[in-house]
Subunit: 355 residues, 2 copies
């Protein structure tokens, strides 16, 4: 039986309930996945088959080699980011629970993804996003028919979404099913036949990091792998939540610098922060915080090899290059967001690096 479970106090609630956080202690819930049924089905997915109700073809993204990196092209999901995997499950939960209007807050990509999957499922959706998000991202949210509400910052978008009572809040920053959707990246990597030694993962709300961790953890339980690999969290200058908890590698951040390029990494209110810190302490020697110069150079490099990502994804590649100097072996670099949403629009900050 797939139940939502509080990792702190063990309370369980039904997937069809309205709970995202523990009704007793407030901790964000996880799905207690029925691994037996997943093994019975041949481990084709770590997502329980009966929980997936809507798809736009997300997942099974390409993995390509470049030097000692393996680039996992998550930006080739249907709406151009890995968030599609999570949005598919979030909207699936909404369908199971009978919610007709859902509410999400986002820096852009999660909003685009949620808008698209809600459209596919015939649900109404309201997206809160910062007004200074890339205009291309905001236009995409609207193109899918979502109601867009803007806020003065990423954090304000989060607060306003929580206050909106015109629908059910399904924010990916807490929604347990969103994390379930991410797990198959771990499965795809393990079953790709390619050997790797570590991963880097961008952290804003931490869904990718937590989803990867949970995926690998379940693969250990199932017996497909022996241990959870090294997963190194990556943040952007001025928006680090992890540096006060973990040893920090700083790539070109001055004390007062705030990244202009990594718009997808600007969240600072992170409901799952303790969960991220707890897990990162186990699987990573440090957190890498990346500045705009390094992001811009990495972005340029990725385009120079034909890989069109968004700037926030280039931050992860910059971190991976640092990691590759510290350790031997092959590093998985999930490239999470598409540059096709950016490069078409003239952008002073971006263009300086790219052209």
């Amino acid at each position: 039986m797939n139940m939502l479970e509080c990792p702190k106090c063990g309370v369980t609630v039904d997937v069809k309930s309205n709970h995202h956080v523990c009704p007793k202690c407030g901790e964000p819930l996880f799905l207690s996945t029925d691994l037996e049924s997943i093994v019975k089905a041949g481990v084709k997915s770590l997502i329980p088959g009966n929980l997936k109700k809507v798809t736009l073809g997300e997942g099974r993204t390409p993995l390509i080699e470049y030097r000692n990196f393996l680039l996992k092209l998550e930006f080739l999901n249907p709406t151009g980011s890995f968030k599609d995997r999570g949005a598919a499950m979030t909207v699936s939960r909404a369908l199971m629970a009978g919610w007709t209007t859902i509410i999400e807050d986002s820096s852009g990509n999660a909003g685009i993804a949620t808008a698209a999957y809600a459209a596919r499922a015939g649900l109404k959706v309201k997206i809160y996003a910062p007004a200074d998000a890339p205009q291309g991202k905001l236009r995409l949210i609207k193109a899918f028919g979502a109601t867009l509400e803007t806020a003065r910052s990423r954090d304000e978008a989060h607060r306003k979404a929580l206050e909106d009572k015109e629908g059910v809040y399904v924010g990916h920053v807490v929604e347990p099913l969103f994390i379930e959707g991410i797990k198959d990246i771990a499965l795809e990597l393990v079953t790709s036949g390619v050997k790797f030694d570590a991963l880097v993962a961008p952290v804003a709300a931490g869904t990718l990091f937590l989803g990867l961790y949970k995926g690998f953890e379940e693969l250990v339980k199932i017996g497909l792998i022996d241990s959870i690999p090294t997963i190194i969290p990556v943040e952007a200058c001025g928006y680090s939540k992890l540096s006060k908890y973990l040893k920090t590698v700083n790539i070109g951040c001055g004390d007062t610098d705030r990244s202009l390029l990594a718009d997808a990494l600007r969240l600072t209110i992170v409901p799952r922060i303790k969960q991220i810190v707890e897990r990162a302490s186990k699987v990573s020697p440090y957190v890498v915080v990346v500045g705009d110069e390094a992001i811009g150079e990495s972005l340029k490099e990725l385009y120079s090899i034909g890989v069109p990502v968004e700037p926030s994804s280039a931050a992860v590649y910059a971190a991976a290059k640092y990691v590759s100097k510290e350790m031997s072996g092959r590093i998985i670099v999930p490239l999470t967001g598409s540059g096709l949403k950016y490069v078409p629009v003239s952008n002073e900050v971006l263009d300086k690096y790219l052209f």
Copy 2:
């Protein structure tokens, strides 16, 4: 042995030669594919393994169901269009032949794809495109480091590219290896386990149509299918090349209308036109020519179900809806180009339909 062969006079030339058209009669060449080696390798691809020298993870795109349509999400290739499949092979040929500078003409997507794969392979590339192509597409070509030359029209871009002697012309409108790259769409459809009764295919230079045809033809030769399925060509108002040869279904085209939305379908100089007509006469009852009203409505509909395509791809869906009224069964709709290159940019013509 994989040789280039003239379908008209039978002359064969080496893949490493500079020939795209027959040195004797001028007819565009095809690859005479060594099917025996493909069968020996288990028919995992219709592209001979020894011809593929560069990849960015193209192919194996999702197939999703919608009503009685099966949407093949070709816009989820690495640079956002099916052209990536062809560009991978074009650039592979350049590597085999030792060409260091290649020249392409394009309405946008093929230029983006060729620029990206050339970048991956370390080749220089010059792209000729119409100055009124979507600015986002032109910016992407430059972002990959290509030299961009603009022309007054799509057709002029083609003529100018042919005249440029600073590199080897590899235009997808004639390049035989480009068509080879497309064939695996046919294989992926046949091996998907999903039954279908017909396909629609956009026709500009005809590479998708010819690639699908050649793919299915080879699958018949190999014995995986009994016959080539119905493939219905689709064109845009004002840019039809096939209507003078084939029975024509007109969806909302006035006599003097010229599509503003379907920028990817504006080529009228089509070197392979006779080859397209010959094959279309065998596998299609008619050609469908689509006007902007129908394209705009279909675009809106695709976004309303979460599928972000470019306008030219919506033309194909408009045609598919017509076809589905004329015949029963399931129709494959290849959605060839990504809307992420468009929607981020404000566009008067597009916005009228989308917002």
